[in-house]
């Protein structure tokens, strides 16, 4: 999942902190495997956005791969 194009084109902001989400390195984990990915994140509270495209695309693919390991 070490791709750099995982954050969406649109503009997003954190409702609570009232600041725009920015690309950041985030660790995702499944079945004991970790990956560091660039995702959109609120620099203040740390809330990370997972979009539909990501969840049902690349993420699902990697989940399946790890499940088959």
């Amino acid at each position: 999942m070490a791709t750099n194009d995982l954050y969406p084109k649109g503009e997003y902001e954190c409702y609570k902190c009232n600041i725009p989400l920015e690309p950041a390195k985030v660790t995702v984990t499944y079945l004991g495997s970790n990956f560091t990915v660039d995702l959109l994140k609120c620099k203040n509270c740390g809330h990370v956005l997972i979009t539909e495209d990501l969840a049902l695309g690349k993420m699902l693919e990697v989940e399946k791969m790890l499940e088959d390991k």
């Binding site: 649109g10 503009e11 997003y12 902001e13 954190c14 409702y15 609570k16 989400l21 985030v26 660790t27 995702v28 984990t29 499944y30 079945l31 995702l39 994140k41 609120c42 509270c45 740390g46 809330h47 990370v48 956005l49 997972i50 539909e52 969840a55 049902l56 993420m59 699902l60 990697v62 989940e63 399946k64 791969m65 499940e67 088959d68 390991k69």
Partner: protein
């Protein structure tokens, strides 16, 4: 099953067995592969296939007496393929370079071959290739024996010379004018050589050579004299050139084994002509007559040969693959699948490439029904799923959702067991099953009313899931617990006869709770007559979709048809019906593990007929209807609430079904038993959602429940952890109740939350969870 049992099961599939033409051919020419290349006009490739098992191919192609044709399956639908004539055409048309010889390193042993006819030549050829020193004794002045007497037009001398010249390339020493018995004696040969093959023509005095005996073992061609082997047309008593060739080759195999000191007799069953166990269904194959050559003397032209070869059926079995979308989509056949699944189970490290294969079978049993060898994929798939669960190798995403459904269906809020109101005992107990309760709860009540009206002795009610979900998921411990619970309640009720509305429940009870007497709801409607309010307003032609779990329940199938006739419907029988019925796609938990496959199977089933379908399983109905096929549940017709002119209606979503089950419990307990049911309401359940039909379908396909969405919104409201899509203004929130993170895209309006989208993932994200 252990590894050996898997291999044995794998062997049941005869798809890889050779076709009849090939096994009937004494040297096993792959006539199927040959015809296939000829059909494509690929003459050189066909020639390659032919000479792979035939030494002296130019000669044999022109004179072979083609016994294969007598076994050719095409002969049962038209004339057999003219394999002989095709080989002849191939020999004349081919332009391939001479065969490349690969000769094994010298074995330092010498063999004498007596007789330069076809069988002797073949023995000499094979042994020389294997690295033996071969001396060929020919009484005359030329090699070939009987083949020299064919007319030039049939077998040109030049072809003979070319083919036989291979002897020189192989380093075979030929001694002409060497009549054994006169110039040299058998005793000389026995002394000077490590083995001797006597392969003489009919006319030759071979018998006299083998003075003391003419005893030849028909399998090994060994005589009862140590080191002497014999074969050829004087043995076969026929003038078949291909039998002589075969004798020579088989004798060479024996001599090789003899000189290597290994068993002469082991694994020789499939030498020479034999029968095959390959099955080929000829149904639907159009009869085609032989293609005749315009010039009979010259034989087939290339075009004629291609046409004739095109008549080859290319025999294979594939019966199950033709009948099952799942087997078809994985692009092979059960023998291969069995191997893949077995391997998948044994892998310690590396990718388990067959997980999807294992989780995409609906366990319907049609394969076994159509297989000539009773190969049942579902047996292997069940076994594999169970083993995967036991070893912790089942992908968590495959069956988590249906197992959760099972848990809810058997929870206290849904499941209940009671005697009939006002009765202290139950001679019967109605077990509607979770599918019908979720899909059409009203029908559960109406059926119960019917049963209490018609049957004496008390009809209790047992509302819960039969546990088939656990079994299909390979969760055998859970399944056993579920069965135990049913058993216990049945005991407490006084061992009533179980009335089953669902065919899957029926099989579960029949196979796993054999101590219980069972009857199908349909058999009772048939026996006791239709309810008074019965009757569809309109009637017409319908096709019955038998549930795969009633495949061998002829009684139930009959009852369903009787009921439809009583309702004045005309029944169309699908080509796959009764014991050959095809699955609706919803079995085996496939909709959860491989939704696309389930949909494709449903589509295929739906397209079998233009007629509207009648199903008697709620799951079948919903699965077919979801593909736009007009499908009624039998109860829709019995109670007259089907609208035959309305378009196909989808069944309820997973969310709705869950709510239906909860409400059915409360409603029945209140109205039938007068109980006060206090529905325990969780805080999030009062969050009002607005979901359009389109969005509902998406959520359903993604197995996102309304309560999952409510939990996300509750969490967002409580924590303020919400993201905003600036472009659309939509709010985006997420929450992970257990092992799945749900995301919801929504907006608020005055009286609720408008849901635009929802999705989920199983990974955990640092910062979010």
């Amino acid at each position: 099953m252990d590894h050996k049992e898997w291999r044995e099961y794998e062997e049941k599939c005869i798809q890889e067995r050779p076709p009849a033409c090939m096994t009937t051919c004494p040297v096993h020419v792959d006539a199927r592969g040959f015809s296939s290349a000829m059909k494509a006009g690929n003459v050189n490739k066909a020639w390659e296939v032919f000479r792979k098992t035939v030494p002296f191919p130019g000669i044999i192609a022109r004179i072979c007496d083609h016994p294969c044709e007598s076994a050719c399956k095409r002969g049962e639908v038209g004339d057999p393929v003219a394999i002989g004539a095709l080989e002849k055409a191939c020999a004349t048309l081919q332009t391939a370079p001479p065969v490349k010889l690969s000769i094994a390193p010298s074995k330092r042993k010498r063999v004498a071959v007596v007789g330069g006819g076809l069988s002797g030549l073949a023995t000499a050829y094979d042994l020389a290739v294997k690295g033996y020193g071969v001396v060929l004794f020919e009484a005359g002045e030329r090699l070939g024996g009987a083949i020299l007497s064919y007319p030039e037009a049939t077998l040109p001398k030049q072809v003979i010379e070319e083919d036989i010249s291979v002897m020189e390339r192989l380093g075979v020493e030929v001694r002409f004018g060497a009549t054994v018995g006169e110039m040299v004696t058998m005793t000389d040969l026995q002394r000077d050589f490590d083995a001797v093959y006597v392969g003489q023509g009919k006319s030759a005095g071979a018998h006299s050579l083998l003075e003391h005996s003419a005893m030849i073992d028909p399998v090994t061609f060994a005589t009862n004299i140590e080191g002497i082997f014999a074969g050829g047309s004087w043995r076969t008593g026929s003038s078949s050139p291909i039998l002589s060739l075969s004798d020579g080759r088989r004798a060479a195999t024996s001599i090789d084994r003899y000189l290597q000191n290994v068993s002469l007799t082991a694994v020789r069953e499939n030498e020479g002509p034999h029968e095959t166990s390959l099955y080929t269904n000829l149904e639907g194959i159009e009869p085609l007559p032989l293609v005749t050559a315009s010039d009979a003397k010259a034989g087939y032209t290339l075009e004629e040969a291609m046409e004739e070869a095109g008549r080859c059926i290319e025999c294979e079995c594939m019966e199950c693959v033709k009948n099952c979308e799942y087997l078809h989509q994985f692009k092979a056949y059960p023998k291969v699948y069995a191997r893949q699944i077995n391997q998948n189970l044994r892998i310690v490290k590396g990718l388990h490439g067959a997980n999807t294969l294992i989780n995409s079978c609906t366990l319907c049993g049609l394969c076994k029904e159509v297989c000539p060898e009773d190969f049942d994929m579902s047996v292997l798939v069940r076994e594999a799923r169970t083993e995967m669960v036991n070893t912790g190798k089942m992908p968590p995403s495959a069956h988590a959702f249906p197992l959760q459904e099972l848990e809810v269906a058997n929870s206290e809020a849904v499941a209940f067991t009671r005697h009939q109101p006002g009765k202290g005992t139950s001679r019967y107990a109605f077990f509607p099953g979770c599918e019908l309760s979720g899909s059409s709860p009203d029908h559960v009540e109406r059926a119960y009313a019917y049963l209490t009206d018609k049957l004496d002795g008390g009809v209790g009610m047992m509302m819960r899931c039969c546990g088939a979900t656990a079994e299909a998921a390979g969760e055998m411990k859970l399944f056993a617990e579920s069965l135990q619970k049913i058993r216990q309640e049945w005991q407490e009720m006084g061992q009533p006869q179980m009335v089953l509305a669902c065919s899957t429940c029926y099989q579960t009870f029949k196979n796993h709770l054999p101590e219980m007497e069972i009857v199908s709801l349909w058999e009772l409607y048939d026996e006791y007559g239709l309810p008074d309010e019965a009757g569809s307003k309109v009637t017409g032609v319908v096709a019955v979709h038998d549930a795969c779990t009633t495949r061998y329940e002829a009684g139930i199938q009959e009852s369903v048809r009787h009921i439809l006739k009583k309702l004045d419907f005309t029944i169309e029988e699908l080509s796959n019906s009764r014991e050959k019925t095809a699955c609706c796609g919803a079995g085996g938990l496939v909709p959860y593990a491989n939704r696309q496959m389930a949909n494709d199977m449903a589509k295929r089933r739906a397209s079998e007929s233009q007629a509207d379908y009648v199903a008697y399983c709620a799951m079948c109905r919903d699965s077919l209807a979801a593909q736009g096929k007009k499908t009624y549940h039998l109860l829709d017709l019995i109670y007259g609430d089907a609208d035959l002119s309305a378009p196909a209606k989808r069944g309820p979503s997973y969310s709705k079904k869950r709510q239906n089950r909860l409400q059915l419990n409360a409603k029945m307990r209140e109205s039938w038993w007068g109980e006060m049911v206090a529905l325990e309401k969780k805080s999030y359940q009062s969050i009002p959602l607005k979901i359009s039909d389109d969005v509902e379908q998406i959520l359903d396909a993604r197995m996102v429940l309304e309560e999952d969405i409510q939990k996300v919104i509750e969490h967002a409201e409580q924590t303020g952890e919400v993201l905003v899509d600036k472009q659309s203004g939509h709010l985006i929130a997420n929450f992970r109740p257990t092992s799945v993170t749900f995301w919801v895209e929504y907006s608020k309006d005055e009286d609720g939350y408008v849901i635009h989208n929802a999705y989920s993932h199983r990974m955990t994200v640092e910062g979010n969870e």
